[in-house]
Symmetry: C2
Subunit: 204 residues, 2 copies
Amino acid sequence: MANKEGMLILFSGPSGVGKDAVLDIVLNKDKSLQKSISLTTRDIRENEVDGKDYYFISMDEFENMIAQGKVLEFAKYGSNLYGTPKAPIDKWLSEGKTVILKIEVQGATKIKELYPDSVAIFVLPPSMKELENRLRSRGTEKEDDIKKRLDIAREEIKRSKDYDFIVINDDLESVSNNVLSIVKSLDFSYKRMNNYVSEVINNV
Amino acid sequence: MANKEGMLILFSGPSGVGKDAVLDIVLNKDKSLQKSISLTTRDIRENEVDGKDYYFISMDEFENMIAQGKVLEFAKYGSNLYGTPKAPIDKWLSEGKTVILKIEVQGATKIKELYPDSVAIFVLPPSMKELENRLRSRGTEKEDDIKKRLDIAREEIKRSKDYDFIVINDDLESVSNNVLSIVKSLDFSYKRMNNYVSEVINNV
């Protein structure tokens, strides 16, 4: 059968909404998906694996990659850089794969400019109150930080209007299934199926 | 929770590809879907139910409905008219429902002009040879008719480029699941979720 075109999926949502938990289930249930791994200059933590959680690189390496156009977008948090490497995404897309990229709202805007055919999914909390509860239950955030994160979350949620799909994380299993439905449906978009159409018409 | 917007799905494919069989499974698995029932002036057959298979009406009634703007599109086959009634679709859409309309390619073009937000799915045969086998196995078509139908099918398949999604009916169960994924994913399009977004931001 004909080759499929690749598909890039951007996956965003406010801090605390549960993006990683959703993504873990989605990637576990659909092994054909490729997850883009981000670059970071921060130190590796005890439970982390280089090349799985992040690519842990030095500030020099990061800056060289930026200079060589190998980073699609990057941002600074504290004194560390975080970014999206270009090469793996382009490779997977050329192989016809579906690539999922977890990314915050500003980064998603940049990527969408570079890959206009990418499809963006935003994870919404059931309510701001529930998001607050989730942030608080982590137990790692100070009261001031929680207020700041909620303000940022509100701004991010407003920008969900630039997204193609919105899912609500009210239940981890059901939101994961909803994301899987979206991902699966994209396999059948005309853009990805037009090779098959030609094949059916031409191979009588 | 906020109300969802309705969604109109157009469902096309060449004669013999198995649209009805797919649609039966899809409607059976997702009871929230509404199927648009067509109007026809032809006689009712023994195994058919008025208001389920078609609305069986007289030529006078059909022409009156057209004159009153109550028919979205219609076409003549032999001496009979077939068409799509406007009122049920508008009612279901206003109730936020997902409506599926089985329709041939020309009719779909007209409906898409009237309902630009509608989403169109095209069912492709695995090959023209397989479509020919299916038409032949019906045993009801003359050799000349089969050739004619295959020519029409080829033209229709070329026009699948105006469709949003393409599914291949190589296996009834899997193509039905693929259609269900597409239908489910549309529940999460931004257009249908924006009420929820406002609700989450505003109800702190």
